[in-house]
């Protein structure tokens, strides 16, 4: 069977989750690989959530928040950016790879961008193959 990436999406309630709702309302089709978890703000995303997702077998983690300057909570999205950027080198070090974690700004009106982002990230992960953590699980 071909490899189907499992991707966990963390999206803020006000912009990105609403954008994903709009993608639905507009019937924009995109791959089913990203499963979205709603948060009030992307600033809520911490290292624990991301690492746990990888530990539980995610092949990729997508974090989406309001575009800078548009954060519903003023600057929570900037915290998310710092955290994601800080975590990337660590992911690289432990062999998961920095490219498996992606951060994007998607506003409530960008249904199309949700589709494009999910499509391109799924493609990236598909090329990277299953997460090393998943591969070792399979080997055992």
């Amino acid at each position: 069977m071909s490899f189907e990436p499992k991707i966990v999406g963390f999206m803020c309630n006000w912009c990105s989750y609403a954008g994903a709702d709009l993608a639905g309302t507009s019937r924009i089709k995109y791959p089913p690989n990203v499963r979205v978890i709603r948060l009030m703000c992307s600033g809520r995303v911490d290292e624990r959530l991301i690492l746990k997702a990888f530990a539980l077998g995610a092949d990729g983690v997508l974090v989406c928040g309001c575009p800078p300057g548009d954060c519903h909570y003023l600057k929570g999205n900037l915290s998310a950016r710092r955290r994601v950027m800080g975590l990337k080198p660590f992911l690289e070090c432990i062999g998961i790879g920095a490219d498996r974690l992606r951060l994007d700004w998607i506003s409530a009106s960008e249904g199309l961008k949700i589709g494009e982002t999910v499509e391109s990230f799924t493609e990236t992960i598909r090329k990277l193959g299953p997460s090393p953590l998943r591969r070792s699980n399979h080997d055992n």
């Binding site: 639905g24 499963r35 809520r44 995303v45 539980l56």
Partner: protein
């Protein structure tokens, strides 16, 4: 108490069931831990659907409910209420979004079903750890801030003030009235715009429940629904508004002339001016950018002051009321309000970027708004339609869709240009009976009440309708007839022929676009803009005046192009929403806040500096931080940042989120 979970999978007619095998998902859910019952039903949001939940809570002793249906942004309140009706705390309910995030966006049915299972499993695992929470009720301040004094703001302000609630109406210009005050006649009834607007403007100016703040701008907004604080900058007018009688003597004395914004640059105004004769308030202001005395003051010089002192030699007195006050400074006024209505309107598309239409290059190529002023009795020509050299035009071309329905500029239709273009034909015909009038259109969109009839009437009045988008306006003549004329080049698609139409005047029916600083307003009140830049409403059909921020409403053209009837209707709708909030007197605030465990807190204060609302304070005695729940908005940034794991974000606890992660990865 051991969780007893009920799971309900909605078909949403065929919206979900057409793509997702709902029975299979229900079957899957029934096998999950602690699930007592799993059902699928045609419409969960219907009364029978909700009753299904209520009955199961009572009969099966459910203490957790999961509904897999549409977005929680849509129906979470509905199902929470149903749970509460059956005695279950609203926060023991969870939704899995298998419509917007699954059935509507997935083509493959098998994949959609698998995704739906994952989302249901996440919700079930998450709800296992959910806890009952109490919502807070906060009182609603009955004062209202209306931003923008065009017809939308005026209408909304009057509706609210008439029910005896205080309104602060903030307008950037020195008079209210907005674009409608500039118009000549209004389509399709041909009412004189000023005649129907001025009574409303005057009422606003005199209303005991409206505090009119002209020449003012919103600077800062804080607080939350029902309890906002706003800072408003009242720009210095340099004229004591109490003393000014609006006599206009100062305008006659002032030696500085600048293009009038109100007349769209066709006429002049002075540096001290009343923008138009029926301005409200009818008081002068000094434009500090143009006034030579105010400019001189910056360099330490004392010049001019003719408006204040008059011309002594000729025995002409200055302001008799003694209203001129060059020492005035901007004032910041703070107001407390419960709700905000945004009615900041639109700006006209600037056609100079469409080089081929020659706007700004050729005289007698006008924008729509310029023509309104030209045709208006209070305009620069007292309502005579004249060319720049003072001749009367014998032929006029009106080019539609300038900046609208054009991938290069704005993709959307501006909704009013067809009708105002038709209106121009009528106004020209009325004033210049023999004029040749050409309408160059793509499609004529006459959709409103009485609009199609108006179009039919125009056809009888003898207007040349040419179907085709104008390609160019040129002054280069190819034949003797074209000499000294503007030539409009286009393809007449109805006769499949290229045409050159020589005319004396070209009117560009420019589209409506969001104001250049709409983004700043959006940031101030924390609302979003749609892709075209207009403010985003909560729901395009069912909630067109509310926004993602509770207590902030949008109305008029700042939400999207619309004509006057639609604007007025939407303004009244926004007012009705505000009045409903006021009459209820209180709003429920989500119980989603952060709480710090004193025992775990190390007192590092990282959270304190991150909190955008200043909700976290440090107790010097105990050396720990604590959260003020009244200020906390529940974003969870502090939860993520706490190095000791001492902060819990209610309803979004780490345990709940990790369970959800586990769920989506099954």
């Amino acid at each position: 108490m051991e969780p007893r979970i009920g799971v309900y999978i909605c078909h949403c007619g065929s919206n979900i069931a057409g793509t997702v095998a709902v029975e299979e998902v229900a079957q899957f859910a029934s096998g999950l831990d602690s699930v007592v019952v799993a059902r699928d039903y045609k419409y969960m949001c219907s009364d029978p659907g909700q009753n299904l939940i209520k009955d199961d809570i009572k009969e099966l002793g459910l203490n957790r409910v999961v509904v897999a249906s549409c977005s929680p942004r849509m129906h979470e309140p509905t199902f929470r209420r149903a749970c509460e009706d059956a005695g279950l705390n609203a926060y023991l309910f969870e939704m899995a979004n298998i419509r917007e995030h699954c059935s509507w966006v997935t083509e493959d049915k098998q994949a959609a079903t698998e995704k739906a299972k994952a989302l249901v499993s996440a919700a079930v695992r998450r709800i296992y750890y959910q806890e009952p929470l109490e919502t807070r009720e906060v009182p609603v301040n009955s004062n209202v801030l209306v931003l923008g004094g065009g017809i939308a703001g005026i209408q909304a302000a009057l509706e609210i003030a008439d029910s005896e609630h205080q309104v602060y109406l903030v307008e950037r210009d020195s008079s209210i009235g907005g674009h409608m005050a500039q118009f000549d006649k209004t389509f399709p009834t041909l009412d004189c715009s000023a005649c129907i607007l001025t009574p409303k403007m005057t009422t606003v100016g005199q209303h005991q429940y409206i505090q009119l703040m002209t020449y003012s701008e919103l600077e800062e907004v804080s607080g939350y629904v029902g309890n906002f604080q706003a800072k408003i900058r009242m720009k210095a007018k340099y004229v004591d508004q109490e003393k000014c009688t609006g006599c206009g003597r100062c305008q006659e004395l002032c030696p500085i002339s600048v293009p009038s914004e109100f007349d769209q640059g066709l006429g002049k105004r002075k540096a001290i001016y009343i923008p138009f004769p029926y301005a409200v308030p009818n008081k002068a202001v000094i434009d500090a950018e143009s006034c030579s005395h105010l400019k001189g003051l910056k360099e330490g010089k004392d010049v001019c002051r003719l408006c204040e002192k008059g011309i002594e030699k000729k025995g002409i007195a200055g302001c008799e009321a003694g209203a001129i006050d060059f020492s005035q400074e901007d004032k910041i006024v703070e107001v407390e309000i419960g709700s905000i209505i945004i009615a900041t309107g639109f700006q006209q598309f600037d056609p100079s970027v469409i080089y081929e239409y020659g706007y700004g290059h050729y005289d007698n190529v006008l924008t729509g708004l310029q023509f309104e002023r030209l045709s208006n009795a209070s305009g620069p020509t007292s309502g005579e339609i004249l060319l720049t050299d003072g001749r009367t035009p014998e032929s006029v071309a009106i080019i539609h869709c300038v900046g609208s329905r054009d991938q290069n500029y704005h993709e959307y239709c501006s909704r009013v240009c067809c009708m105002y273009s038709l209106k121009y034909s009528h106004l020209i015909r009325e004033k210049i009976p023999n004029a040749q009038i050409y309408q160059l259109y793509i499609d004529l969109r006459c959709f409103g009440k009485g609009y199609e009839e108006f179009y039919n009437r125009l056809q009888k009045e003898g207007v040349n309708f040419v179907r085709g988008r104008a390609a160019e306006v040129t002054g280069v003549a190819e034949t003797p007839e074209e000499k000294g004329k503007l030539v409009v080049l286009c393809e007449d698609t109805l006769i499949s022929r290229q045409r050159r139409i020589p005319v004396d005047m070209v009117i560009l029916s420019c589209g409506l676009e969001p104001r250049a600083d709409a983004g700043e307003v959006a940031r101030l009140v924390k609302i979003s803009q749609s892709a075209d830049g207009f403010f985003l409403e909560k729901h395009p059909k069912l909630d067109p005046v509310a926004t993602a921020t509770d207590g902030v409403f949008v109305t008029g053209c700042c939400q999207g192009p619309k004509d006057i009837p639609d604007t007025v209707a939407q303004a009244s709708a926004a007012a009705a929403r505000v009045l409903a909030m006021i009459s209820k007197g209180k709003v429920e605030v989500e119980a989603i806040t952060s709480v710090i465990d004193e025992k775990l807190c190390s007192g590092c204060k990282i959270c304190k500096d991150l909190c955008p609302y200043g909700a976290i304070s440090f107790d010097e005695e105990k050396k720990v931080c604590s959260v003020n729940e009244a200020l906390c908005k529940g974003c969870g940034t502090c939860v993520a940042a706490c190095p000791s794991g001492a902060i819990t974000g209610r309803h979004f606890t780490t345990q709940q989120l990790l369970a959800e992660v586990e769920g989506v990865l099954v």
